[in-house]
């Protein structure tokens, strides 16, 4: 059935690809692929098979062949560059929010620029520049933030006035503008030709390209790709790359071992016109008007204009539903708001004659970022798809990173934000995808303010306490499908106001979170932290300990009942995961990782743990509700509830004990808090969750207990310089670079992953250093708040970017965390970062173009810690040198 389906799809894409299609009416079936002889037969085997001949497939093929992998076959069900690639608007834009996306776009731009020269294929590359317009001050702030990022990347970019906009583009109505961002090096290309050029170059390098060949399924044995089934026979291969665009989801599910690729197509419309009376100059800048939700580019002297409407039309939800295909028609009524925006932006176009309204489906992902990487379930199965309508901008860079990933085992950049493994099966429901992409597509143009949350696809995973907390005023955010509390609105506060707190400035929950933080500091708070990923690893013999000792950097051979903070490092010493592991018994371990590690960490361990039936690993995330008791009185609450001595002598820091709380037995209590405050984590079998929560709240009353949310937690951990994986730490950061040598046991008597790299770093020093910045002249009430990704300047020179920030209610200052690098002033070469280098600089943080003085610190304020526990001091001994 799958083969049949892909056949049908190829017809569709043919139709889209061939302008003559409309004239070929009834003879369509006979002209489909089977009727025409294929000149070259398929090879029986290859190292890599790539499915999809669009910009992604050809870019991967191009880069693989450049990197020396020549035994590559690219299969395309229709013709090359005939899908979304052919129809996309061809705008290469580097104005991106996320750093990795920005880098991909920048690389793509540079690649396309020289592609014509390299291949001889005309790509239509024209450097036009782009102007992004701001109709509001908030939009201008957003553009300024991007401009700051672009500038430190070396991409020319400036914020300009409406008058300057008028000079750049004579047709623009500037009356409602407050400013704009001009990126002079952005370009236009013919996307299909870029794809053909990449294919040509790849083909010259030995890649075999077969058109009109449909992949029906991927063959998998023992969790590894072994081959590909097509309508023209099988090909044995070691690697498969799914670049099937909007069909990637479907193709992922066609094999026996499903690969979840959460993306969903939406219709996307753009308008083509006849040339203007005075045709537009070929180098006229592309205009992006996000407030009007449209983009406008030159197209053969006329314009091409499309946009991202508020009410997108998702399609192909049922995948093989052919009925929707004929709907791929011009829908003018749907386009009306965008047309109005266009005529408002360029009123002189009224008399311009319409040529066509093109309907070209684009695929979107649940979090607006593309999908890249290896499947967590099938080794050798790579994916590159879900470009959220930026396929051309990302094509070159994304193909490069994926090729590096395949050839070297890892890409040259931190691509975690794009990694397929950030998703699991829970994001693969068709209903979820359909609903979510309807929210994502309009977001393309919406203002991206700090701390926005998706509204669709919510309440999927919840703690058993969800209703209780919700009734007490909880405001929710979502992580990996799990609802987590941001903060609790006290009774009597205006709720509507709070929900609309979308601002770049001080948010209106400021005081609410402040009081939660205060309660954590002075009394006790309870935070539901059930979303954290929890694994249990055990064995009949010593296999568990031995394997974990090899995979984790800290020494896990600790007495039973101890908790160890440790990194799960890769060969280069970078953090693949940052977790806490409790030794439950001699042979079993309980591991706590960040919420979004559920898929990645599982796959990482599965692929590396010995294939031994006596060693078992279980994901027990769903089995436990986790309550975090934070604050100096947590110990009182717990001891009253358990009738057990919880004094530091009996229950030292970083300790784990099973005990009873209230009537419930077998509660796993750990003396850790993830924030540096005193307190405990309670891992409660879910059926006891409500009971324990009620007991804690009742007993806690006399100690002033209250609920708190993640915003309070975040403020607490950042002011104490605690790094979080996924935000501050990534696969390119080693413990040495973030002051966590104490979590590494270089001499634990056995080899571990990353040890060599760490030893080398220890000897030679590090090239970046995790640093804490206290903003000095920043007015919390009046100034823009930092978020993350702000450039850091040392003595006026760019040295790195922030990774997270929060207001410290204790210091009454903003704290930013980030990495400082040392670039040679002349050559730009990266140099070793020493403590002196950090300490002897004058720092500034650039928030949307405005620089604020900052004080750099390599160690947290010791005064912030209320040391009561021996083990604490031991753990923090590293900090005390300051």
């Amino acid at each position: 059935a799958a083969g049949m389906f892909l056949r049908l799809l190829s017809d569709v894409r043919w139709r889209a690809a061939d302008p003559k299609w409309r004239r070929m009416t009834c003879s369509r079936r006979s002209t489909s692929s089977t009727a025409e002889p294929h000149p070259v037969s398929l090879p029986a085997q290859a190292r890599v098979v790539i499915c999809g001949g669009g910009i992604m497939g050809t870019s991967v093929a191009y880069h693989l062949s450049k990197m020396g992998w020549k035994d590559v076959v690219l299969l395309e069900q229709g013709r090359l560059a005939a899908g979304s690639t052919r129809f996309c608007a061809g705008i290469v834009s580097t104005a991106r929010h996320a750093s990795v996306e920005l880098k991909m776009a920048d690389y793509s731009n540079k690649l396309y620029q020289q592609l014509e020269q390299e291949t001889g294929v005309k790509t239509g590359y024209t450097r036009t520049g782009s102007v992004s317009l701001a109709q509001t001050q908030d939009r201008l702030i957003s553009l300024k933030r991007i401009a700051s990022s672009l500038n430190v990347m070396g991409i020319p970019c400036e914020i300009i006035t409406p008058k300057q906009v008028a000079q750049l583009h004579p047709l623009i109505n500037i009356h409602d503008l407050v400013g704009a961002m001009y990126v002079p090096e952005d370009a236009l290309v013919s996307s299909a030709n870029v794809s053909l050029a990449l294919a040509t170059a790849a083909s010259r390098n030995g890649v075999q390209i077969h058109e009109r060949t449909s992949v029906s399924h991927v063959l998998v044995q023992k969790g590894r790709v072994t081959g590909v089934g097509t309508d023209r026979g099988q090909i044995q291969c070691q690697y498969f790359v799914n670049c099937a665009g909007q069909w990637a989801y479907e193709l992922g599910h066609s094999g026996e071992e499903p690969v979840n690729i959460p993306l969903h197509a939406c219709e996307h419309f753009y308008l083509l016109t006849h040339p203007l009376k005075e045709p537009l100059a070929s180098n006229i800048p592309t205009v992006v008007d996000p407030d009007g939700r449209i983009y406008i580019r030159n197209w053969q002297g006329g314009i091409l204009s499309g946009g991202f409407e508020k009410n997108p039309k998702p399609l192909f939800t049922e995948g093989r539903n052919q009925l929707e295909i004929h709907n791929l028609q011009e829908d003018w009524d749907h386009f009306e708001p965008l047309l109005s925006a266009l005529l408002r932006r360029m009123p002189d176009l009224e008399a311009l004659q319409i040529m066509q309204l093109v309907n070209c489906p684009e695929s979107f992902t649940p979090d607006m970022r593309c999908i890249m990487g290896e499947s967590p379930t099938v080794q050798g199965y790579f994916v590159l798809a879900g470009m959220n309508s930026a396929g051309i901008s990302y094509g070159g860079g994304a193909g490069k990173y994926l090729a590096e990933w395949m050839v070297n085992g890892y890409p040259s950049e931190n691509v975690w934000p794009l990694d397929l493994k950030r998703f699991g099966t829970l994001q693969s429901s068709r209903t979820f995808l359909r609903h979510r992409v309807m929210e994502v597509m309009p977001l393309m143009c919406d203002l991206k303010v700090p701390r926005w949350d998706f509204q669709t696809g919510r309440q999927l995973r919840t703690s058993p306490l969800y209703d209780r907390l919700d009734a007490q005023g909880a405001r929710w955010m979502e992580k990996h499908g799990f609802e987590r509390v941001k903060y609790f609105v006290p009774p009597g506060r205006d709720l509507l106001d709070l929900d609309q707190s979308k601002t770049f400035y001080k948010p209106d929950w400021f005081d609410i979170v402040g009081s939660e933080v205060k309660c954590c500091k002075e009394a006790v708070c309870v935070i539901d932290m059930s979303s954290f990923t929890k694994f249990e690893i055990s064995s009949t013999g010593d296999q568990a300990l031995e394997s974990l000792q090899y995979l984790f950097s800290n020494d896990l051979d600790v007495p039973v009942g101890h908790v160890v903070h440790t990194g799960m490092l890769n060969e280069k010493g970078g953090y693949e995961n940052d977790c806490s592991i409790a030794r439950l018994s001699k042979r079993s371990f309980f591991m706590i990782s960040p919420t979004d590690q559920q898929v990645h960490c599982w796959a990482w361990l599965k692929n590396r743990l010995p294939d031994d039936s006596s060693l078992t690993m279980e994901d027990v995330t769903w089995k436990y509700t986790a309550l975090n008791l934070i604050g100096p009185r947590a110990v009182d609450v717990l001891s009253e509830l358990s009738y057990a001595p919880i004094t530091p002598e009996h229950f030292p820091s970083l300790f784990c004990k099973e005990m009873s709380v209230g009537y419930a037995n077998g509660i796993r209590v750990m003396s850790i808090t993830h924030t540096g405050e005193p307190g405990f984590m309670l891992y409660i079998p879910i059926e006891y969750a409500l009971h324990v929560y009620n007991e804690v709240m009742n007993m806690g009353q006399k100690y002033g207990i209250r609920n708190a949310g993640y915003y309070a937690l975040r403020s607490l951990r950042i002011e104490k310089f605690f790094a979080f994986w996924g935000q501050d730490l990534d696969a390119f950061t080693t413990p040495m670079e973030c002051g966590r040598e104490f979590q590494v046991k270089l001499e634990k008597g056995m080899e571990f992953v990353g040890q060599e790299a760490l030893l080398e770093q220890k000897q030679n020093g590090v090239y970046k250093r995790f640093t804490m910045f206290i903003l000095e002249d920043h007015d919390t009430d009046m100034d823009l708040w930092p978020w993350w990704g702000e450039p850091i300047y040392r003595n006026g020179r760019y040295v790195g970017k922030t990774t997270s920030s929060a207001y410290s209610y204790t210091l009454e200052r903003h704290v930013c965390l980030g990495f400082v690098q040392h670039f040679d002033e002349k050559t730009g070469e990266e140099l070793v970062v020493t403590t002196d280098f950090i300490n002897q600089g004058e720092y500034e943080i650039d928030i949307a173009g405005q620089r604020f003085q900052a004080k750099a610190k390599l160690y947290p304020f010791s005064s912030l810690f209320t040391h009561r526990r021996r083990k604490d001091e031991e753990e923090l001994s590293g900090y005390q040198r300051e």
């Binding site: 308008l271 016109t273 049922e318 009925l323 028609q329 011009e330 829908d331 003018w332 009524d333 749907h334 386009f335 009306e336 047309l339 109005s340 266009l342 005529l343 176009l349 009224e350 008399a351 311009l352 004659q353 319409i354 040529m355 066509q356 309204l357 068709r430």
Partner: protein
């Protein structure tokens, strides 16, 4: 508690809801004559029977006559002045949200659930709604899915001389139909279950609006009658497969017979006794659809109507009648009635387009005044409760009453095989058909269901169109379709048009507001109760069924 619904229109700020516990007082309350009820008195809580008597004695006073007597504008002004002492005039105009809350108060939608992402039923779902003119409303509606056989049942019931009969028929008829359709084995199974006190197989899954109630008190009585019916069916076991048409006719006739018998036998419980008499002495028409795959059966008794909406190849909409009205306008029906009675009565049978000069529908449930012999009527009334005896209407014997029965509940059944172009079915009481032509109904529902813009997509093609021209066109279209988006329910949309359409065929808010703010005493003069069910068909499934059979 007596099933009185306080379904008054929430139209005036000081209109109090009718509390049910006041019911026993009602019969003592003198009811002002309709014509003099210009001043609105909110202390009068009308019960089913007495309100009827006061208002629309068998539709003695046809709407149009009244409209001619009182020119609406004058009437309105009069009314406003009369109320000046109580409220300020500007309260009179309902805001669009107020209008919507009135129109949507009774709306109900049902979507046939999908299995595995697909709906395999030929019915996509239905929308239904009611707008009362009588207080309380005398129309009823029912919808249910047959659980032991395939198919779905939908029906509208228009009561007269009270709502008791319409209420009973809306509760009971579908059970009679479902039982008539059941195979012998299932009937046996059900009977055995009842016999041994085991749980019954569910027969119907009802799709009810919260306002659609069932009488709890009578359920035992109704159940016993139903059980007697299936026991007879078991004894009669013909061994033949049940023909839907036959089943429908049998069910209608049997239920009417049971209604009549129950009234004759009476009930020891005085409340029930009064109830069965009220049911029998009031009347109701019924228009019922049974949809099973491509087979659509319409069983109609009376002057409600079933209409099929058909989409022509060019996208336009046309209407196909699937029922014949049983009234004086139907020559065949007049012919039938005349055939059934001696020639001597020919002139008195139909007078002023009414049966015996009284009743508009020529077929109906209940209405034993047109079915029983004079002796029987007198006997039952005399032995009946005081309420019945005090009632002028029940005691009144129709003139020229010689050879009863004059009235039957036997339906006319039309079978239609659904085609892909059959997009929807409208079942509605005459309140709708009096104000709208079926062709307009087909167009309005059709355009609503497809969305105007889907129906006629704009294509530029080879024409020379400028951006400005296109923009103008689109803005205009947007304005036009915005009224469609106000309604999420096709039946509501239809009522909005039926009540609010001006001479240009578009909804006029002012008119809508006026019509809906009429006090209940006046409302009945301008409009009748309207009940509408719009069933949407699944053309894909219907097309697939057709192909399979070909």
């Amino acid at each position: 508690a007596i099933p009185v619904r306080s379904s008054r229109l929430p139209l005036l700020s000081d209109a109090m809801p009718a509390p049910a516990h006041l019911f026993p007082l009602i019969r003592n309350c003198e009811i002002s004559r309709l014509c003099s009820t210009v001043c609105y008195c909110h202390h009068k809580h009308l019960c089913c029977l007495s309100s009827h008597f006061a208002h629309s004695h068998f539709r003695y006073a046809p709407q149009k006559k009244f409209v001619a007597l009182y020119r609406p504008k004058e009437n309105f002004n009069h009314f406003i002045h009369a109320r000046d002492y109580a409220s300020t005039p500007q309260r009179f105009y309902l805001t669009p949200p107020q209008v919507n809350s009135i129109l949507k108060a009774n709306e109900y939608s049902f979507k046939v659930p999908e299995f595995d992402g697909k709906n395999v039923s030929s019915v996509l779902g239905f929308d239904s709604n009611q707008l009362p003119a009588n207080a309380p409303i005398e129309d009823r509606r029912s919808a249910a899915t047959c659980l032991q056989t395939r198919g779905m049942l939908l029906g509208v019931f228009d009561g007269h001389a009270g709502c008791a009969c319409a209420q009973a028929v809306s509760e009971r008829l579908f059970y009679y139909i479902a039982v008539s359709l059941l195979p012998h084995e299932t009937l046996l199974e059900i009977e055995n279950a009842v016999e041994s006190g085991r749980a019954l197989l569910p027969i119907l899954q009802w799709h009810k609006h919260p306002n659609d109630y069932f009488s709890k008190e009578a359920s035992k009585l109704y159940f016993n009658s139903l059980r007697t019916y299936w026991q007879e069916l078991i004894d009669l076991n013909s061994g033949e497969t049940t023909d839907v048409k036959e089943a429908l006719i049998n069910a209608f006739k049997r239920l009417d017979n049971d209604i009549s018998l129950e009234a004759q036998v009476g009930d020891p419980n005085s409340f029930l006794n009064y109830l069965v008499l009220r049911v029998a002495f009031s009347g109701a028409t019924a228009c019922v659809a049974h949809v099973d795959g491509v087979d659509l059966h319409i069983a109609n008794t009376g002057d409600s109507r079933a209409m099929l909406g058909v989409q022509e190849e060019d996208g336009s909409w046309s209407a196909v009648n699937l029922s014949y009205d049983h009234n004086a306008q139907n020559e065949h029906e007049v012919e039938r009635v005349k055939m059934e009675h001696p020639k001597s009565e020919e002139k008195s049978l139909v007078k002023q387009d009414r049966l015996l000069g009284l009743l508009m529908p020529f077929r109906a449930f209940g209405d034993v005044k047109f079915k029983w012999s004079i002796e029987l009527q007198k006997r039952v009334i005399e032995s009946g409760p005081d309420q019945l005896n005090d009632n002028e209407y029940t005691k009144f014997i129709p003139p020229n009453y010689h050879t009863p029965p004059y009235l039957t509940a036997e339906p006319e059944v039309i079978h239609h095989r659904l085609r892909p172009q059959d997009k929807f079915l409208v079942l509605a009481t005459d309140g709708l058909w009096e104000t709208m032509h079926r062709q307009d109904v087909a167009r309005i529902v059709g355009e609503y269901l497809t969305g105007v813009h889907h129906q006629q997509p704009i294509a530029v093609g080879g024409y020379k169109v400028t951006l400005g021209q296109m923009h103008g066109l689109l803005t205009e279209r947007r304005a036009r379709i915005s009224s469609v988006f106000e309604d999420q329910n096709a039946a509501t949309h239809l009522i909005r048009h039926a009540v609010g359409n001006n001479e240009f065929g578009t909804v006029d808010h002012e008119r809508l507001s006026k019509m809906l703010s009429l006090p209940e005493e006046l409302a009945r003069m301008y409009r009748d109760d309207i009940t509408i069910i719009v069933v949407q068909f699944n053309s894909h499934v219907i097309g697939a069924c057709q192909n399979e059979e070909l």
